[in-house]
Each structure stands twice: as C-alpha cells, then as structure tokens.
Symmetry: C2
Subunit: 438 residues, 2 copies
Amino acid sequence: VAAGDPEAAHDFLKELPPGEDARVMAQLSDSEQQEFITLISDENAARLMESLPELQAGQLLSALPPEQAAPIFDEMHSDEQVDLLDQLPKSQSAAILEEMDPTAAENVRFLAQYDQLSAGGLMITELLAFEESESVDDVVSNLRQNAEKYGAYNVQYIYVINSELQLTGVLRLRDLLLAPPQRQISKMMITNPTSVLDSTGLQDLQHFFDAHPLFGLPVVDKNNKLVGVIRREDVEQAGEEQAGRTFLRFAGIMGGEELRSLPLKTRSARRLSWLSINIVLNVVAASVIAMYEDILASVIALAVFLPIVSDMSGCSGNQSIAVSTRELVLGVIRPRDWFYIFRKEFVLGMVNGIALGVLLGTVAYLWKGIPALGLVVGGALALNTLMAVCLGAVIPLILKGFKLDPALASGPILTTLTDMCGFFLVLSFAQALLPWLT
Amino acid sequence: VAAGDPEAAHDFLKELPPGEDARVMAQLSDSEQQEFITLISDENAARLMESLPELQAGQLLSALPPEQAAPIFDEMHSDEQVDLLDQLPKSQSAAILEEMDPTAAENVRFLAQYDQLSAGGLMITELLAFEESESVDDVVSNLRQNAEKYGAYNVQYIYVINSELQLTGVLRLRDLLLAPPQRQISKMMITNPTSVLDSTGLQDLQHFFDAHPLFGLPVVDKNNKLVGVIRREDVEQAGEEQAGRTFLRFAGIMGGEELRSLPLKTRSARRLSWLSINIVLNVVAASVIAMYEDILASVIALAVFLPIVSDMSGCSGNQSIAVSTRELVLGVIRPRDWFYIFRKEFVLGMVNGIALGVLLGTVAYLWKGIPALGLVVGGALALNTLMAVCLGAVIPLILKGFKLDPALASGPILTTLTDMCGFFLVLSFAQALLPWLT
C-alpha cells in the first residue's frame, strides 16, 4: 500500500485468505485504508465492503468523499447498500445518493423505508420477473442474452407477474429444462406461490425457512405487488448477527456492536453510558449496607461475606437470564409462559440455593468457629439464590412482554435486586442472631 | 392428543404456525409427547424432529423404544441423523442403528467419525454424482426418472467423478439447459472445481461462504474422493447455534445449551458445577478483606464501597471480554494481536476509569464529608477499572491461544482478579491514608 501501486494492491487483495481481510484492514491506519480503497477497482472495493463487518465498512466509507464512495455503492447488492448507508451520517448518505446512479439511488430510497429486520429490509430487488403471456422460449432466450448480468443474481426462481405487477406464479429454473419451448409460462407455473409480506419480521422468516427447504421467497406489498426476493442466506446471516448483538448487549455494550477500530470517544461514551446507570444502581444497593453499619461494626467478619453472597446470587440469576433469553430467541417460550417458567425455576433455585448455602455456611463456620455465622451466611445465600434464579428467569419475559430489550436490561435490574436483597438478608439475619455472633 | 386420533393429530400439526411446534411440544408432558409422535407418520415426525432444537428432539427420541425411533431416523437428512444420535446415550444410539435401514446406518457411522463443527460433520451425503463418460442426455434422463427422489435433495449442482470416485468437475443444473444432448459431461464441466477438505473447520467455512456466492460446496477427503456436499444453510445455521452457545457459556451454562424441559437433575448439576468453581474463587478473593479486618473495623464506611468497586470493575471488564470474544468470532482479531488490543484498551480504561473514579469518589466524599474517603474509593475504582478493562480484553485472546474456551472461562477468571485487586486497592489505600480517614 505504501508504494501506491494499484497492481500490487490487487494482487495483495487476491492473496488474502477469505476472512483475513477484516483483520488486515483493521490493522491499517485510517489514511492507509483510504489509500488502499482508491487503489483497487470499484467492484473489488464493493466486494471488500460486503465482506467486512458493517460497522467497519461504514467507518471506512465515511472517510471517503461522496464522489468516490458513490461508484463503490453502485457495485454493491441492494440490501448491502441500504445497510451501509444507514451507518453513515445523514448528510453524507444524502450526498452519496446524489452521486449514485439515479435508478439505484431511487431503489435505495425505496428499501430504506423498511425496518432493517423485516422482509423488506432484508430482501434484494435483483430478481427475474416475466409477464404471464410470455413463452418458455421467450424466457430462455432472455436468459441466454443476459447470462452475464443474471449470473451475478444467483437466480433460482423466475417470478411471473400480471400487468399490475402482482405476483401470480413462480417457476423453478430447472422446470424450464423439461418444458416444450412454445408453452406459455402461465400454463406451467406454480400458481398461488408462497410469498411473504414486506412487513414480516426476522423471527417469523427464520421459522419459515426452518420449516421449508427453499432458497428464496418472493416478497410482496399489501397489494400483492412483487417488491423483492428474500434469500435464505440473508435471513440466516441476520439471525447470526442478532445472536452476536444479543451477546454484546448482555455484557453491557449499547447498540450491540463495538469494534476496536471505532474512535475512542464513541467507544468510551457507549460503554460509559451503561456503566453510569450501573454505578447508580450499585450505590443504591450498597446503601442497604450503610443502614446496618452498627451491626457490621460489631461482627466485622460479615464484611467478607457480603460481596460473596451478592456475587454468587448474581451468577445464579445470570444463568437463568441467559437460558430465558436464549429460549425466547429459539421461540421455545413466550412472555405469557412466565408462570410455567417460574415454577420450573423455583425448584431448581431451591436445590442450588441449599447446595450453595450449605457450602458457604460451612466455610464461614469453620473459619471463625461460630455456628451462628454459618447459619446467617448460608441461610442468606440459600434464600437469595432462590430469589435470583426465579427473578432471572422471569425478568427477560416481563421485559419482552413490554417490548423492551431483555438482553440489555435484565442484567442490571437483576444484580441491583440481588445485591440489595443479599445485603439485607445477611445483615438482618445477623441482627436477629446478634447475641450468638459475638 | 388426549383422544388418540391420528387424523386430528395430523391436522393439528399442519395448523401449527411454523416455529410454534417447539413451544407446544415443550408444554406437553413426556408421555403426551410420545403419544403424539406415535400418532403422526414417520415422515412428519422426522420433519418435526428436524425443526425442534437438537436438545429437545434428543430428549423426545430417547424416550421412544429403538424400533419406533429407527423409522423416524430413516426419514431424516443424513446430517440431522448424526447430530441427533449424538444426543442419545451410547447404548440407545447403537440399538437404533441396528434397527435402521442398513445403508443409512452405515452412512451414519461414516459421518459420525467427523467433528460436528467440521465440513465432514456438517455435510450431507445426499448428492448427485455422475461419471465423466456420461452425456448430457444420460444425466437429464436420469434426472427425469428420479425427479421425485431428487426433489427432496434440493439439487443445485451435479458433481462429476472419475472411476476412483475422485471429484473431477462440477456442472450447474442450469448449464444443462443450454447444452446439446449428445455432449459428454466431462467436455462441458467446470474442471478443478472448488472443494473443501472434510476436516475444514466451521470458521473457515463461514469465511469461504461469505466470500463466494455459492449454495453448496463439494467435500472431499484427503485422497480427493467426493464424500459429501456442504450447503451454505448448514454452515450458517451452525454459526448461529455457535453464537447462541457462546452467549450461554458466557453466562455460565456449561456445554452452552439448556432447555427448561430437561430433567431437573441435569440442569441443576450443570449450573452448580460452574457455580461451585465460582464460589471457591469468590472466597479466595474475599479473603483479601479478611486480611484487613482491622482497617475495616476502624473505617466501617469502607464496607459499603467494597462491593461497589468490585462490581463496577467486573462490569467494565466484562464489556471488554464481550468485545474481544465477538471480534474473535468475527475474525477481526487473532490471539497474536494481543499487544495491539492491550494498547487500544489501555487508553479506554484510563478514560473510563477516571470518569467512574471521580463519580464514585465524589459520592463518597459528599456522604461522609471526608475528602480522604473520596480519594481512597475513587482512586481504587479508577485503577481497578483500568486493570479490569485491559485484562478483560486480553484474557479471551490468551485462552483462545491456549485452545481454551474464552466464553466460558474469561468471566470467572476476570472477576476473581478484579475482586481481589479491588478489595486490595481500597483497603491498602485506606491503610496508607488512615490518619486522614478517622
């Protein structure tokens, strides 16, 4: 790159093992990345952008002037165009749309109106549609003429529409193999083909593709007008990204995406916004301890067990949260199943609570030789574990029921409750058994 | 189901919206589920099993006698057969293999030798292969004759092999459309087709399919013998499952899978095995507090801040862990990039550490009116956050470098270190500033 030689840059790109590109680009400085992009052809730049994580590609493109970014956009698939423009600041995406091929820009504006995780947001608009009146021969000769252009579409199905552009049938490419050339396609098409509405959500699409061995589905608007094709691979990729985002949000990464190549200011601000909510919750929880300062002063050993009880209950509760979040994603449970889940977890919370309580109680007893200390610590952990397990299982369902994000909010809510409750249990049990503790 | 009417059962299955089946089955009792399976046809049972989460399907099949389970297995795709048999106890899977169609059983045994997350473990063996000497007409008439059987394969490519069963070429179904019937397929095939070794891992497969717009790839063994086909959808589904498992392991679910319909004993034991390691680590960390009991006794207010400092650093560190784990999965970073990551996180840790330290220090100062208390608490949180952020970023890379699972082990290692270090920092700072604290 340093040499500024376009041929060397192309060779370099070709030699990169698939999957290495994201890593290599992340290691280059911003200006090196820009220079590299300008060296390679627009088509190669488009392929590179499509293979990078969205956030990384967005960053890279945002550094390019619009007249340079626009031709790269022109070479991308329609669904990727929309996703990437979404990553850019408003003013810049508008400038790029101005510079782009007008038909493509029009198409992007049309796609941009859809929710990213709906059939409309995930579909591509590159498809083959023919009118009902055409014959097998018409279609085949059109295919032959445009072989090169269509090759890039990865066509599996041909869609049949009427004069109002409404979807009326579908043909598999292989069916054309066996059909007499003069037959009209409307005579051999599958009528009433399965299609999805453009507003269908990701989860329903996933279930659909799980249940049907299809490569793609036509997408129609509410007037049954054919608007695009949704491919299995796009649905599955979106599902995978969702799972990754759930994981990051669960660990307190707002927005569910962070790459180390982002500017420090953005990264720090995103992480801090979550941490500062947490610190407030933590202070609230710890204020329970402040209310019992005199108890703590007379049995200072309790200070050792306060963090253990709160941490362990937090861990137990997090396990329940994770299982509930996962079962929600898999579609095995729904918010209204909360009572069934509660019953299931109650028994598990009892078993695990008693096991952990006995363990920690024994440690406390052996350390100080005071049976009441074991009873206080063990009893508090047992009860708090039971509560944490039940709450952890139900909180994601409640949040989901209120259309909130279970992955992001469940953790802080749970740990605040288990911390408060854990501190309270240890210190109030100690208050009750104070004569036997000192 | 209660009525035991096979027709009603079929109607019920048909009416279930896709994706609902897993939830409905989970709500039935074990005996009801079994009865339902015996009511519906083997083919429908096979489709149902394929659509359920693996763990759930495994449970259900393990309750059936082998002679009843075997015909259901016979109706499944080869890759699903292997995955599900893997879920059953050894003795039972052996009994089912005995009862199965011998060729299918042989095939399963062959597939079972592969790692589940390798090309061999993910491929299917249902494919169309023809010898080089055959003509277009031979192939097309074979396709016509077996249209029904092949329909279920969802064929996209035809593979060409030589007399030693080695892969020599590939043909797209649509190419047959345009070719003269008498031409020998070896004359028109794509020679030296792209293929993958059966030992190729999931991550490499994902990168490959990201980079190439293909629906499937031939899988060969080390002698270039064609052994199966790996489809994009299977790779993407495996990727999605992996992401879900990473999430669950991160929250302390051993094995990365738990469904509430599993027996209590299994669920409790799996969760406890992780918790009991954690409780030991927690006790070790808290023993730091025990060493400073006298300091704590003279400044009892510190007891309120000990859990806050350790919890908050744990949160900050978890954010770093999550980003590193995610970047490892995306292939943006590698273990050997640890120093680059460390540098990036060091700056972020400084910024966030100072922000959180000032915040908590101010709270402590305002509460008790003692400036030194603010200094102790704020300073300890700032330093501990810096350490947690750096450690959290690097620990997953180190674990990955040693071929350990970053998702499962990073959390407990990090929180033990941040707890110990947090307690130590607060209490040793307090010791140093003791004259100003009381």
